[in-house]
């Protein structure tokens, strides 16, 4: 792939003596929607935490937007154009919905970027339910609304790549049927997205390419449409019965 937005090679993540990610290669092309599926504990979230700078990798290299970012911290990654919607959403429950959105554009607000308000407006058009709750404490939102807020908040930093970690966690299918098309829309408008998802069926339906991770490694990868028909995927992740 020529000039990908994200290119991860030989990524290793360990917690003390425990290896969570044991050498992983992942690429996301510009404008691409890529998924990572795999069971609980496969190392998906650890890999995302290393890519977004939340934790330092034990080995390997991460290139983002043409530059080596292997040891960069999360706040530096945001400045470079990588936003992560973290597992468990991590909204600031004791601040209002609007304050959460402003925090999403922290450095832009600090330098008084006048276009932040436009971007908040655009995010609210994407998630009208947040508009009704703008002055409400974010902790009082439902799980689905919190996930909307987490995505909206991630967009305010104007990312070049949006990393979404476990979008479906704890959410009802009805909410997921609303959220996944919104991600697909954002991608159609040009945003590169890397989606980590345990619910393989949802991920395979919206992404273009998918990596399958187990035990800290990528087992195989390919176009999502093909993997959705692949026996190995059908058996292990889509619950096909023999």
């Amino acid at each position: 792939m020529s000039d990908p937005i994200l290119s991860v090679s030989g990524l290793k993540v360990s917690y003390g003596p425990i290896t969570a990610v044991a050498g992983v290669d992942i690429e996301v092309g510009r404008g691409e929607f890529v998924g990572v599926i795999g069971s609980n504990g496969a190392g998906k979230s650890s890999a995302m935490r290393a890519i977004s700078g939340v934790l330092a990798p034990a080995g390997g290299a991460i290139r983002f937007d043409g530059a080596d970012v292997t040891r960069r911290k999360s706040h530096e990654m945001v400045a470079l154009g990588l936003a992560m919607v973290p597992e468990g959403r991590m909204i600031f429950g004791d601040q209002t919905v609007r304050e959460n959105l402003l925090l999403g554009g922290f450095s832009r607000v600090m330098r008084s970027d006048p276009e932040v308000e436009d971007d908040i407006e655009r995010a609210l058009e994407l998630f009208p339910r947040l508009r009704e709750r703008l002055g409400q404490m974010a902790g009082s939102l439902s799980g689905g609304e919190q996930q909307m807020l987490a995505i909206a908040r991630g967009l305010i930093s104007r990312p070049k790549l949006l990393v979404v970690d476990e979008l479906s966690l704890g959410l009802a299918p009805k909410i997921l049927d609303l959220l996944f098309p919104i991600l697909a829309d954002l991608n159609a408008k040009g945003l590169s997205i890397l989606l980590v998802e345990q619910m393989a069926s949802y991920a395979l339906a919206v992404t273009q390419r998918t990596y399958v991770m187990e035990n800290g490694r990528v087992l195989f990868s390919g176009p999502s449409a093909e993997l959705a028909e692949d026996d190995r995927v059908l058996d292990a992740y889509l619950g096909r019965k023999h």
């Binding site: 939340v54 911290k73 706040h75 600031f92 402003l102 450095s107 930093s157």
Partner: protein, 291 residues
Amino acid sequence: MEANLQYVLSGLSIGGVYAMVALGFSMMWSVAKAANFTHGDVFMLGGVLTVSLMALGLPIWIAAILAILIAAAAGALIERFLVRPFNREANAIGWMLTTIAIGVMMESFGTATYGPLPQPLPSPLAVTPLRFGGAGVFPQELLLPVVAVLAMLGLRLFQTRTHFGRAIRAVAANRVAAGLMGIDADRVTMVVFAAAGGLGALAGFLIAPVIQASTTMGLVIGLKAFMIAIIAGITNAAGVVTMALAFGVVERLIEGYLSTSARDAFGFTLMILVLLAFPQGVFGRKEVSKV
């Protein structure tokens, strides 16, 4: 009755000192989840440095402002070199050792250079006492609780009305999430430590005309302020200030009705009992476990 009024007034005064120092512990704990045990000595710097700088010929206000700025810089350095490197893992306690050790060194170094004796800090507000019936109190003493409450309200306003203030709350709530917003959580923590250091030194400067400035003035006040913060619920700034003022009054009442030597024995016993009844602090909420 007049005796009681006297106890309350001078209790609010010492309580105001506890409040300003305890508020610093609260601010620092909220963002770093660590207690900076040099804080009592940073408080001491406010009095001792002001006296030392005045001895060089500086006027009191310049000396005080310089002392507060030096204490703020000390707060930032303490965060950067004594707390941050020793607070990387969840549940790390290395910062306890480093801050206690450097706190003791600051006091020894102060005693070696400034001398072991308390020195007076003249203040126009500590010359003529105000009379309330038979009770008397220096305006300087009344200033302390007023400044403490103003500091708490100012902090609250800053944290709710400014963008950087919101970032401080974000770091306090969830460091990882704050980083993902593009907030440099380490820098925010350092700024908060500097502000806490400056506030502590302000308290040291304001109380020095009443108790005189000595290098040992920070030890017991720092410890008490920390304990007050704990029994109040350390992340609740308003609760910490309220508890500090109340504790100051209780101490004076014990002194008045029992004796000065009974003060700490009864005061600390009371604290232990309060903590037994309210393990999260009287105004505390259950700490959400950090990930």
